[in-house]
Amino acid sequence: MQIQPILAALRRHRLATMLIALEIALACAVLCNACFLIANRVALLHVVSGVDESALATVQLTGYEDSHAVDLNARVLTGLRSIPGMQSVSVLNSIPFGARRGTAGITLDMAGQHFGGVVEFYVGGPGSMQALGLHVTSGRGPQPDDFRTFEGLMPTDASVQITRSLAEHLWAGTDPLGKDFWLDKWHYRVVGVIDHLVRPDPSNWQGDSKDWSIFVPALPGKFLAGSYLLRADPQDISRVLRDARATIAKIAPDAVFDEEGSKTFGDLRTDSFRQDRAMVGMLVGVIIALLLVTALGIVGLVSFWVAQRRKQIGIRRAIGATRGDILHYFQTENFLIVTFGIVLGMVLAFVLNMVLMKFYELPRLPLVYLPIGSVVLWGLGQLAVLGPALRAAAVSPVVATRSV
C-alpha cells in the first residue's frame, strides 16, 4: 500500500483530518486516565484483608455505663457463646472494614524523634487472633501470658504482631523480630510477623499502607468492651448474627445494639467500598459513551468522504484497482489519522494526569496505559471505518463513465 497518495489526499482535507485526530487525541487522554482510575479502584475492591471474612461477623454495643463494662463483657461473651453454631466469640477494638478505634502515629525511638508512620492498632482479647484467621509467617503468635489487663486506650507495654508490609516499611531488609517502637511514651516489642491484616478504612490509604496494622494482645475489661468478633461456619454466619441480636436484647437490655456497626464481614466489606464501586461504574459508563461517540464520529466523517469521492473511486476501479485496494486505502488512511491522534493524545494524557495529580492526590500514570490505549483506539478506528470503507469498495467502475 502506498502511503504517498493518501498523505496527498489528506492534505486536501486538512480540517476533517485534524478533527478526527483531535477527537482521537481527546479520547486517548480521557481513556488512559479513566482506565487508570478504574484500575486503582478495582485493586482497592480486591484488597487482601488477611482475615477469614466469610466466617466472621461483629456485634457493636454502646450506651452502657463505663462501670458496667466488665460485667457486660462477661454476660455478652457467655450469652453469645451459647448460640448454636457459634465457633468463637472474642473482643476486638477495631474491626476490618468496620469500626476504627486504634489509629495512631508511632516512633522508632523513645524520644519520639524518628517517626515511623500512622498505623492501626488492633487490640484483641484471647481467641481473637485465631478467630480472625491471621497467619503468623515468622516469630510467634500471642502466648496466654501476653494478654494483660490495661487502663486507657491501649496496653502501655506489650509484645505485638505486625504485618509484613509494616515491618518492611519500618525496618526494610532487616529482621523485625525483637525490634521496639513507641506510641508517645508507650512501648511495644515485635514478637511475630503476620501475612496481612487490612486497616478498617483501606479506602483512605495508598498502596502498601492499607496493610499497616498491629495486633496487640490484651484482656477484656473496662477499656476493651462493647466490640465483639463472632466466628461461625460461613453458611451459618448470617443466622448466628440474627440470633446474637435477639440474645443481646435478653442478656444486655441496658446496652444499645448498634445496627449500623453490627454486620457480617461480607456486608461490612460491601458497604465500605460502595462509593468506590459507584465510581468504577460511572467511569466505565463514561468510557463506553466516549468510545461510542468517537466511533460514530469517525463513521459519519468517513461516510461523507466516501460520498464525496465516489467518482474518484470509480475512476480508480475503472483503471484496474481491485475492491481490496479501495478497502485498504480507507483502512490505511484511518490508521494514519488515528496514529497522529494517538501521538497528540499521549501528550494530553500526561497533561491531564498532571492536573489530577496536582489537585486530587492521584499517583502518576504508568506508561503501560499508553500502548493499551493506543491499541484500543486503533482497533476502534478500524472497526468504525470498516462499514464506510466496504461501501466505498462496492462502488462500481461504471460510476466513472457517468457524467455528474
Partner: protein, 440 residues
C-alpha cells in the same frame, strides 16, 4: 427574522434527508450533555452552600495550640479547638453569637414501660447555636443564656426522636430520659439536616443521611460526663485517663462557630484572637508567636476538603466527554453542510447574502441542539436516578432533578451545538456561487 420559519422548515427537511447523520449528531450531543449534567448534579449537591443567606457571616476560629510542625507540614493550626481555648472564647464572648459544639451519642429511653433504649446522635451546644444557624423549630424553641449558665436539664430534640420517644405531637415541657437523667423538652426541631453538615465537619466528613437527634446545653453535657463521641486529635497523649483527662489535655475535639456582622467585626475578632494567643504566649503556655485563622464558612469548608475528590474527578472526566462530543459535532456538521455546496451556490446566485446563509445553517445547528437537549434531558433523568442507586448512603438524596438543572441541560446542548456549528457555517457561507454552478 421573518425568514426564521422558512429556515426551520428547510432545516427539518435537510435533517430528514440524512437521518443517519442527524441521529449521530443528536446522539453525540445527548450523551455528552447527559454525562456532564449527571455528574454536575452530584457535584452541585455536595459543593452547595448549606446556609447561603448567612454563610458569609459565619466564621470558624482556629488557634495554634500545638506549635509549629505539629499538624502536618504546613503552618496550619489544628482543625478544631481544645477544651481550654474553646471555653476561653466562650467566656470572652466577642462575637454577635457563638457556640462551642461537640458530638454526643447518649442513649434515650422511650416513654412507656419496657421499651429498650435507642441511641441518639446529637450535640452539646450553647443556646445561641439555634438562632445563629437559623435552626427551624416545629414546637418550642432553644434555651436561654441563663440555662447555659445554670447547666439546666433542657433538651432540643429532632422530629424523628420526638416520634420515637413520644409518638409525635407537641411535647414541649414534657420530660425525656437521656442517659438515665430527666430533661425538659424545650423545643422540637422541624426537618433540619443541612448538607454538608457545616457545624461539624471534623466528625462527619460533611455528609450524613441522618440528622442530629438531640441537643443539650454544652456545660450540662460536660457536667454529667457525657463523653465526646466524635474524633479527637492529640499532639501528646492525655496525662489523665477518661473524659476529664481529655478536657485537661490539648487534644482538639470541639467545633466552634461565631457570627460576625461586617468587616469591622471580623477585623476586631481577628485582633482579639491574636491578643488571646499573645496572652497565652506571655503566660508560657505557647512558646510560639500567634498563628490563628478566622475563615468564613465557605472558605473553611474548602479548607477542610468537604467536596469529595472523586466528585471533582468525575466532573472533569465527564467534561472531557462533552468536549469530544462537540468536536465530533463540528466534524459531522462540516460534512453535512459542505455536501450542500450546490444548494448554497444556487441560493447565493439568486441573491442571498452571506448573513442569510449564516441564519439558515445556524438554525439547522440549533434544531440539532434542541434535539440533543431533549435526548440529554431524558438521559440525565436516567443518570440522576441511577446515581441515587449507586451513590454511598451518606450522599443519597442529594442529587436532584429540578427546573434549573433541566433548563441548564437544554441550554448547554443548544449553545454547544451552535458553537460547534459556527465554523461549518462559516465554511458554507464561503462557497463561491459561480464555481458551484459551473461544476454542477
Amino acid at each position: 427574522m421573518h425568514m426564521f420559519g422558512y429556515y426551520l422548515e428547510l432545516a427539518m427537511r435537510s435533517l430528514k434527508r440524512s437521518p443517519g447523520l442527524t441521529t449521530l449528531m443528536v446522539l453525540a450531543i445527548g450523551f455528552g450533555v447527559a454525562a456532564s449534567m449527571t455528574t454536575y448534579s452530584v457535584f452541585r449537591a455536595v459543593s452547595g452552600d448549606p446556609i447561603p443567606w448567612k454563610s458569609s457571616k459565619l466564621f470558624v476560629p482556629q488557634i495554634d495550640m500545638w506549635g509549629p510542625g505539629q499538624h502536618g507540614g504546613d503552618r496550619e493550626p489544628p482543625d478544631a479547638l481544645d477544651y481550654a481555648d474553646a471555653m476561653a472564647l466562650m467566656r470572652d464572648h466577642r462575637a454577635t453569637r457563638q457556640s462551642a459544639i461537640y458530638l454526643i451519642s447518649p442513649s434515650v429511653i422511650p416513654a412507656g414501660a419496657g421499651r429498650s433504649p435507642v441511641q441518639a446522635n446529637g450535640y452539646g451546644v450553647y443556646g445561641e447555636f439555634f438562632p445563629m444557624l437559623d435552626v427551624p423549630f416545629q414546637y418550642g424553641s432553644g434555651w436561654s443564656a441563663d440555662d447555659d449558665a445554670h447547666q439546666s436539664a433542657v433538651a432540643v430534640i429532632s422530629d424523628k426522636l420526638n416520634q420515637q420517644v413520644f409518638g409525635g405531637g407537641n411535647n414541649v415541657g414534657r420530660t425525656i430520659d437521656i442517659e438515665g437523667k430527666d430533661y425538659r423538652v424545650a423545643g422540637v426541631l422541624a426537618d433540619w439536616n443541612p448538607q454538608p453538615i457545616f457545624y461539624d465537619v471534623m466528625d462527619t466528613g460533611g455528609y450524613s443521611s441522618d440528622g442530629p437527634d438531640v441537643f443539650l446545653p454544652f456545660q450540662r453535657a460536660i457536667a454529667v460526663n457525657m463523653t465526646n463521641s466524635g474524633v479527637n486529635e492529640c499532639r501528646d497523649s492525655p496525662a489523665e485517663p477518661g473524659f476529664v483527662g481529655l478536657q485537661h489535655s490539648n487534644c482538639v475535639w470541639i467545633a466552634f462557630m461565631a457570627e460576625l456582622d461586617g468587616a469591622g467585626a471580623v477585623q476586631r475578632y481577628r485582633q482579639y484572637l491574636d491578643d488571646y494567643a499573645r496572652d497565652q504566649q506571655a503566660a508560657g503556655r505557647f512558646t510560639w508567636s500567634p498563628n490563628n485563622r478566622l475563615r468564613n464558612l465557605p472558605a473553611y469548608l474548602d479548607h477542610m476538603h468537604v467536596v469529595p475528590g472523586d466528585t471533582k474527578v468525575s466532573l472533569l472526566v465527564a467534561l472531557g466527554l462533552l468536549i469530544v462530543c462537540l468536536v465530533n459535532t463540528v466534524g459531522l456538521l462540516l460534512a453535512k453542510f459542505l455536501r450542500r455546496s450546490g444548494e448554497i451556490g444556487v441560493r447565493r446566485a439568486l441573491g442571498a447574502s452571506r448573513s442569510a446563509i449564516y441564519a439558515q445553517f445556524l438554525t439547522e445547528a440549533g434544531v440539532i441542539g434542541v434535539g440533543g437537549g431533549v435526548l440529554g434531558l431524558l438521559l440525565t433523568g436516567v443518570g440522576v436516578l441511577g446515581v441515587d442507586l449507586v451513590l454511598p448512603i451518606r450522599l443519597v438524596g442529594l442529587a436532584r432533578i429540578d427546573p434549573a438543572l433541566l433548563l441548564l441541560t437544554v441550554l448547554i446542548a443548544v449553545v454547544a451545538t451552535l458553537l460547534a456549528g459556527i465554523y461549518p457555517t462559516f465554511r458554507a457561507s464561503r462557497v463561491q456561487p459561480a464555481w458551484q454552478l459551473k461544476s454542477n
